[in-house]
């Protein structure tokens, strides 16, 4: 029965509504976190700017560092990829973007004979690369939405160790750069060895102030400072990447959850429509049953009427309106069929083709005009007779064949009057 379908639909609507509440909440949370994450990205800028400046001042002062972090290697036999993703899903294509970019790089490297190792930051990256059987050098997780400098330091120390020990010959960062709340992009940046271009100060203060830089006092010597500074520089770069990734993650999640909420709304709308139709159908069916029941009972219509309408009227749906009009219709039908009405005889048609001269064609024409009884024809005046004769294209035929007279006789014979 239709009620079953309605109940199923009601259940589905409820479950979609519950899901919608969750996605809406996630959307709002992500939206508020974007702002915070953005502030953290901004708060990290002074440090990285200053440290870059210091590096440039040192380089300008001829701080000849023997740091292995600056020494590039050729050929590059193995590359470490730091893939920064989220710990959780429900953030659209955020994780997939980084994973795909990393995987593409790995495959391209392997084709040209370069070995690789993945440093998975974020549980999603770990799961992805582990499931596909990639070789994983290290994994970090549990802080993707709120990274601290300590996390960056941990990762930095590990990769620098890998690089210095000769385990890998290059380290690449793959993460999602946060441009604005509406736009983020997956980027790949070389991390180690440090770009000599950056370190030797391309556009910084160090170059135009080369004279000033030379005047710097150093304690201890520039080389030693640079050696202790470079690891900080690497860590700061990783930290900036982590912060960017966190802000991007929130932005992606906010967008994904917004569209999920919109979809849930759409789904609820469609399901409600189907449910209402099903409910309306079942009401209509019930009414039809009542009406036909009422007709079948006929005689005791009034009593039936009251009994049948009682429970339905309580339903409170606008179907009540239909009900009343249905009731009225049923009443009218009954009136026409009552034997008392037939006894009046006014509307009871006679076989007017009994009149000589009226065949099927003329008979049909007359019935169309509403002339169905002998009494009507018997009551024609001379004008009527002429008009009808003209209408049926046989002028004078009514008079010639004495239709009025015949009708009077037939009427008298049939009704004894």
């Amino acid at each position: 029965m239709a009620g079953g379908q309605e109940r199923i639909l009601r259940g589905r609507i409820r479950s979609v509504q519950a899901t919608k509440k969750i996605t809406r909440a996630m959307e709002l949370i992500a939206a508020s976190r974007i702002v915070k994450a953005q502030q953290r990205v901004a708060a990290a800028v002074p440090y990285s700017e200053q440290i870059t400046e210091v590096v440039k001042d040192l380089a300008a002062a001829g701080g000849a560092s023997q740091s292995p972090l600056l020494a590039g290697r050729d050929p590059v036999a193995k590359v470490a990829y730091i893939a920064i993703t989220a710990d959780r899903g429900l953030c659209g294509g955020y994780n997939a973007g980084v994973q795909r970019a990393t995987e593409g790089e790995i495959k391209a490297g392997v084709l040209s004979g370069t070995d690789y190792t993945v440093i998975a930051v974020g549980r999603k990256a770990e799961g992805y690369f582990r499931f596909r059987g990639y070789s994983i050098g290290a994994t970090y997780g549990g802080f993707s939405d709120n990274p601290t400098y300590a996390h960056a330091k941990e990762i930095g120390q590990r990769v620098m160790e890998m690089y210095v020990s000769g385990e890998v010959d290059r380290v690449e960062l793959v993460y999602t750069r946060f441009i604005s709340a509406g736009s983020q992009e997956v980027v790949q940046r070389p991390l180690v060895p440090l770009d000599r271009q950056t370190v030797s100060g391309g556009d910084g203060k160090g170059v135009d102030a080369a004279g000033v830089a030379a005047d710097f006092e150093f304690e201890p010597d520039p080389g030693t400072i640079l050696d202790t500074l470079l690891p900080r520089y690497v860590e700061a770069r990783i930290y900036a990447a982590l912060l960017n990734a966190a802000a991007s993650e929130h932005a992606f999640r906010q967008r994904a959850m917004k569209s999920a909420t919109d979809n849930a709304e759409e789904l609820i709308k469609n399901l409600s429509r189907i449910m209402n139709r099903a409910r309306q159908d079942s009401i209509t069916t019930e009414i039809m049953e009542i009406v036909s029941g009422a007709e079948a009972l006929g005689g005791d219509a009034k009593k039936h009427h009251t009994i049948a309408l009682g429970p339905l009227a309580d339903d409170g749906f606008d179907g009540g309106l239909d009900l009343r009009s249905f009731g009225a219709g049923a009443g009218a039908t009954r009136t026409m069929n009552t034997p008392a009405a037939a006894a009046v005889g006014v509307l009871e048609p006679d076989d007017i083709e009994d009149i000589v001269g009226i065949g099927p064609v003329i008979g049909a024409h007359l019935r169309e005009q509403g002339i169905t009884t002998f009494a009507q024809i018997a009551a024609w005046t001379a004008q009527d007779a002429t008009r009808i004769g003209d209408e049926i294209d046989f002028p004078g035929r009514v008079e010639r064949e004495n239709w009025i007279e015949q009708a009077r006789e037939l009427q008298a014979r049939k009704y004894g009057n």
Partner: protein, 138 residues
């Protein structure tokens, strides 16, 4: 009185930024060094230390700096540190117990991490009133 712009910057945020008349910190291998306005351009690596910034109103801002760099150029002194804490943010009792733990560990064997922890604890305690008072307290 001449002043200079002082900034204490950690990777996560700018801890302090303001006018000051003197900054005392400690460099790697060089001992304590004080900067007054108009100091020559200077670049140094720092060790764990208790940095004192004398503000223009004469009050002293105590900062525990756990390694980092100091750059003096023009009228600006920038202290860059992975981990720096203003005295008011330091939990002194935690630092005390950390110091005791580190000393305990060092008594058993020489441990680089314990030594670093001890240096951090000392820097924190110095910034919040000195190790001496700490020794008297327990």
């Amino acid at each position: 009185m001449a002043t200079m712009q002082v900034e204490v910057v950690s990777p996560e945020k700018v801890l302090f930024s303001g006018e000051a008349s003197q900054v005392i910190t400690r460099t790697l291998g060089g001992g304590e060094i004080a900067f007054l306005p108009g100091h020559a351009p200077f670049l140094g690596a720092l060790i764990e230390n208790h940095t004192r910034i004398t503000l223009v109103d004469g009050s002293v801002l105590d900062v525990a700096v756990h390694g980092g760099f100091v750059q003096v150029s023009g009228t600006t002194v920038s202290i860059l540190s992975d981990a720096a804490e203003l005295a008011e943010q330091i939990d002194r009792s935690r630092a005390l117990s950390a110091m005791e733990r580190a000393e305990e560990a060092l008594r058993r064997e020489h441990d680089v991490e314990a030594a670093a922890a001890l240096a951090r604890a000392h820097a924190r305690l110095n910034a919040t009133g000195g190790v001496g008072t700490a020794a008297g307290a327990h």
